[in-house]
Amino acid sequence: MSQAQRTHIFYFILLVLTLAAFIIAERQTAEPWLMGGVLVTAWIKGQIVVDYFMRLRRVRRRLWRNVVSGWLFLILAVIAYTYWLSLTPPLN
């Protein structure tokens, strides 16, 4: 697959994931696993941008990709964790 074809396909995937996240969030009943799905779509989208739009996937010095990907993962993980905490009732 050529670089151009990959770009078109990833663009299409990014749009589909955006639409999916929007449709999920439009549901009135916010089920936690659905909100988890919204965060997963954000992670996939972000990683596509990092790897194929920013072109960090094949960069010789892995540190650059690792730092940006790590930032993406860490931020979304903390958001997911705080969201999960917000669902659990207080102990007392």
Binding site: S2, Q3, A4, T7, Y11, L14, L15, T18, L19, A21, F22, I24, A25, E26, A30, M35, V38, L39, T41, A42, K45, G46, V49, V50, Y52, F53, M54, R55, L56, R58, V59, R60, R61, W64, V67, V68, W71, L72, L74, I75, L76, V78, I79, T82, Y83, L85, S86
Partner: protein, 210 residues
């Protein structure tokens, strides 16, 4: 004369196409200037702190955040996400074009990306106008303080990204970039993608998660 130029260009294009194929399989150097990447990392750090502050503050104001969030127009956020992604896609196509020495095509894609930036800013201005018309401001509540400051901070980055892309477009028109030397295009592209990447987190965090 014209034929000679054409032959030379074709040869160059063939060489460049080979180089592009090699790029696809081999490891590459960092696209763009290292300085912009250090700047990008600093920007990501700042946005990251903002996002974490939002998520942690939400923990102690869940009802307020959920109620206030219902007042946002999610459609604007979703459309703007699609617009920014499209802008990033156009920038990728611009980089692909200059890598193949297609200067004019590169310019057209850069203009298209600038158009998406303009659409984003117009939609954002409409959104801000609607909120201010409803009497909402930074001191309305802690949710709106985050919503307005985060989205405005990102908005300023979109404007800066547009200025950078416009500068790259002008330099490209002046013939400053070729298939072999196009660091400026890649530098501008990297910054624009960073703006897109930040919005990819901001959109679900502020508009969707409830």
């Amino acid at each position: 004369m014209t034929t000679d130029t054409y032959v030379i260009n074709e040869t160059e294009t063939a060489v460049i196409n080979t180089t592009e194929t090699e790029h696809e399989t081999d490891e590459q150097t960092l696209p763009g200037d290292v300085a912009i990447w250090i700047f990008i990392l600093a920007e990501l750090l700042v946005f990251g702190i903002f996002f974490l502050a939002y998520a942690i503050t939400r923990l102690s104001n869940i009802e307020l955040f959920n109620e206030s969030q219902l007042n946002l127009t999610r459609e604007y956020g979703a459309i703007n996400t699609a617009v920014l992604i499209t802008g990033s896609y156009f920038v990728v196509l611009a980089v692909n074009a200059i890598r193949q020495n297609k200067t004019q095509q590169c310019g057209r894609w850069l203009l298209a990306a600038l158009a998406t930036g303009t659409i984003f800013t117009v939609i954002k201005c409409i959104e801000f106008y609607e909120k201010f018309s409803e009497g909402i401001n930074l001191s309305t509540n802690v949710f709106y303080m985050f919503y307005l400051s985060l989205t405005f901070f990102h908005f300023m980055h979109v404007l800066l990204g547009m200025v950078i892309l416009a500068a790259v477009y002008v330099k490209n028109r002046q013939g400053a970039y070729t298939a072999k030397q196009h660091m400026g295009v890649e530098t501008g592209a990297a910054y624009w993608h960073m703006v897109d990447l930040v919005w990819i987190i901001l959109f679900p965090l502020v508009y969707l998660l409830h």
